[in-house]
């Protein structure tokens, strides 16, 4: 009997140790707690949730010799692994690059910046946990990202309750407009909303005289949001959706869907997806001998699409931010300088064909916050107000002017039509 009790208690102790290990690892810089002194480790865990949003001097590290002042800690969430990794990795890269740049040039108001990046694994649950860790343990002033709309929606409640500004790098309009039409106080986002993008596309299609549209979209939040917006805007522009098909992001062949679309005999085909599936659709369309022009979405805004779609990419037209066609912009364009600079910096650091608009979203997230921090100082509430009051901020995605009614802050100048011609992005005519 004694043995049994001994066993039961040891089981409970093991459980408790596990939990404490978690506390210790997460909180203290030491990688592993000392099992023999669990209580001491737990005590090392940072103070409770209600701590002041000002980075507490005791908790911060002393790793930045360059600057004399306390670092500003900013959290960043990116879908580095999982299905969203083609978004998350350029975002992560951009955050790392900007942190370095800013600190080299003396930080913000003399404070170095520390960007704490967490992977969300493209998973909502993990995103929520990572958010809480950023808020509770890293005591960040604001959170940049996450990459995906679902993740952003999943953590919205958490940041709102904790009163931490969030600048999402995901597309869906639902992130910054609640169901009842109100605006979530603490949540902003930098990518163009699908409404904006779709509007530009619809206008383009209308100008070109394409009335019957065959629509293919990927069955995830990205494709769904595009579909919804398109269905909303198309009728008023006199566009008629003659075929509507979906495919899964992991599908390897869309011939069946295209065959159906082809059978409906549209004037033009629109594909709303990201690579690789977006590229497969273009390839399949070419293979099926589809003569109609193929339009894609801003989801193909990186070189990967071109390189994998090969010749099939040629002639594809899509709405996107100006980043991809920065070269061709008139010098009068406000964004041109910024765009070229980012292109130069990013490709210098990460390689020639690595540029993508997703990194651009991250750039915007970072600088909107950094800019606001200059004015507000390290206070979450003041920072939020400063973000909301950002006006005419020239970013990669567009020129941002946030307001209490608009937490995206972009207008249709942020979108342009781009054509792929011989492996290059050029403005579409």
């Amino acid at each position: 009997m004694r043995n049994r009790i001994w066993f039961a208690t040891s089981l409970a102790v093991v459980l408790a140790l596990l939990i404490l290990a978690l506390g210790g690892c997460a909180g203290a810089p030491a990688p592993t707690p000392t099992p023999s002194k669990p209580v001491a480790t737990a005590a090392a865990t940072p103070a409770p949730a209600k701590a002041s949003p000002v980075a507490s001097p005791a908790a911060s590290s002393k790793t930045e010799p360059a600057a004399s002042k306390e670092p500003y800690k900013i959290g960043a969430l990116a879908a580095v692994t999982g299905p969203g990794s083609s978004l998350g990795i350029p975002e992560r890269n951009t955050y790392q690059m900007l942190e370095e740049q800013v600190n080299k040039s003396g930080g913000i108001n003399g404070h170095p910046v520390q960007v704490v990046i967490r992977d969300t694994e493209s998973d909502e649950t993990k995103a929520v946990l990572a958010t809480k860790k950023l808020i509770e343990e890293d005591k960040v002033l604001a959170i940049l990202g996450p990459s995906l709309s679902g993740e952003s929606l999943a953590i919205a409640d958490t940041v709102t309750k904790a009163e931490v500004p969030l600048i999402s790098a995901a597309a869906s309009i639902m992130i910054v407009v609640n169901k009842d039409g109100s605006i979530p106080k603490w949540v902003f986002k930098t990518p163009q909303s699908d409404a904006l993008i779709v509007k530009t596309l619809v206008d383009h299609l209308k100008t070109k005289g394409y009335n019957k549209i065959g629509w293919l979209s990927v069955s995830n939040a990205y494709g769904d949001s595009g579909t919804t917006e398109f269905q909303k805007l198309a009728p008023s522009a006199g566009l008629n959706i003659v075929a509507k098909e979906t495919f899964a992001a992991t599908d390897t062949d869309m011939t069946a869907q295209l065959t159906r679309v082809k059978g409906a005999n549209p004037d033009a085909i629109v594909v709303w997806s990201i690579p690789p599936s977006a590229a497969i659709v273009s390839k399949n369309a070419a293979q099926l001998g589809i003569k109609q022009p193929v339009f894609q979405s801003h989801g193909i805004g990186n070189k990967a699409f071109m390189s994998v779609a090969g010749p099939a990419a040629n002639g594809v037209v899509f709405p996107a931010g100006k980043l991809l066609v920065a070269d061709a912009l008139p010098d009068s364009d406000a964004q041109k300088k910024v765009l070229l600079q980012y292109t130069k910096d990013y490709t210098a650091k990460f390689g020639a064909d690595t540029l993508s608009t997703f990194g651009g979203h991250a750039w915007d997230c970072f600088w909107v916050v950094a800019d606001a921090l200059k004015k507000s100082g390290p206070d979450r509430a003041k920072l939020r107000d400063a973000i909301e009051n950002t006006k005419d901020f020239v970013g990669i995605t567009g020129v941002f002017s946030f307001s209490a009614k608009d937490h995206n802050g972009l207008d249709n100048r942020a979108v342009t039509m781009v054509e792929i011609k011989d492996g290059k992005w050029v403005p579409a005519k």
């Binding site: 990794s85 899964a248 390897t252 390189s307 994998v308 779609a309």
Partner: protein, 295 residues
């Protein structure tokens, strides 16, 4: 486009897709027959095959050499997996071994992401991109390569299992391990060999499909899922069964997407497969103890 042409197109697409699934299914049953393990890392072999070939090709290696090299490297990785992760787990239940393969698949996928990043890659089509018209349906040349690879692999496996001593030894081990040992056949060597062969098969599939389906570090999970289902429908022990299962799923998927609903295509395929299973609980070709094993 006439209706029958559409249907023909769906069929062509289905057969191409099915060929891919079939090769993966063959990889599954190769390991399963010998070891009783459902190898969840099978999709990762496909990914490795495709991406290694692409990397070689990008480094100016001729495509044929890249193909062969990739298959060889992947084969070695398969063998290493068996030696490093499966063999040390002595006395473990099959379920435990299956979880080990899940761990392997997570690990390999993560290494793939580190090595190749998240972007998709492509190989040029082996013989051009110009589609061939076939009764109103378009067939791209790469489809023939994929289909041909399936047939060659099936034929190769048949020849191997029927005509070579090693092949016969593998079969003997699959049929009756203890009797095979009495012939001097070492089950451990056969398990090693089955992992290597299976990885090689996956790699072949990966390389031939890469020009069509593109290759990403996470392409494996979906392909493995479909290949797994194809293998079960085919009875999980039968080589021709796996191929038929692959075709069946490919065609169902494509017909379902084309004729009924693209959103529900996988659901349609699964419902039909259920019906098949209820009518033939051992799978289409499952003669022997399909109920055994793994899961």
């Amino acid at each position: 486009m006439e209706f029958y042409q559409q249907v023909l197109q769906y069929l062509v697409t289905g057969v191409t897709l099915g060929s891919i699934y079939a090769i993966i299914a063959l990889g599954f049953i190769t390991i399963y027959n010998v070891t009783g393990i459902v190898n969840f890392a099978q999709g990762e072999f496909v990914m490795l095959g495709a991406l290694i070939a692409i990397s070689l090709y990008k480094n100016q290696v001729p495509i044929v050499v890249a193909f062969v090299g990739s298959v060889m490297v992947t084969t070695l990785i398969g063998a290493a997996l068996q030696r490093i992760a499966i063999r040390p787990a002595k006395g473990a239940s099959t379920l435990t071994l299956i979880i080990i393969t899940i761990g392997a698949s997570i690990t390999i996928r993560g290494l793939g992401l580190i090595t190749w990043g998240p972007d998709p890659y492509s190989l040029p089509a082996f013989s051009g991109d110009q589609p061939i018209a076939f009764g109103g349906a378009a067939i791209i040349p790469q489809s023939f390569w994929v289909f041909g690879a399936t047939i060659v692999v099936l034929g190769g496996l048949y020849a191997f299992f029927e005509w070579t001593l090693l092949g016969k030894a593998v079969r003997a081990c699959a049929i009756n391990v203890s009797a095979a040992r009495l012939m001097g056949i070492s089950p451990s060597s056969m398990a090693l060999f089955s992992f290597a062969l299976s990885a090689g098969l996956g790699a072949i599939g990966g390389v031939v499909m890469a020009p069509m389906t593109l290759a990403t570090y996470d392409m494996g999970s979906m392909l493995a899922l479909k290949g797994f289902v194809a293998a079960i429908v085919g009875g999980f022990t039968s080589t021709p069964g796996a191929v038929v299962g692959g075709f069946l799923i490919g065609i169902l998927e494509s017909m379902g997407a084309g004729l009924i609903s693209s959103g529900y295509k996988d659901a349609i395929a699964f419902v039909v497969l259920f019906l098949v299973l209820f009518l033939k609980p051992n799978g289409l070709f499952g003669g022997r103890d399909t109920g055994r094993g793994g899961l």
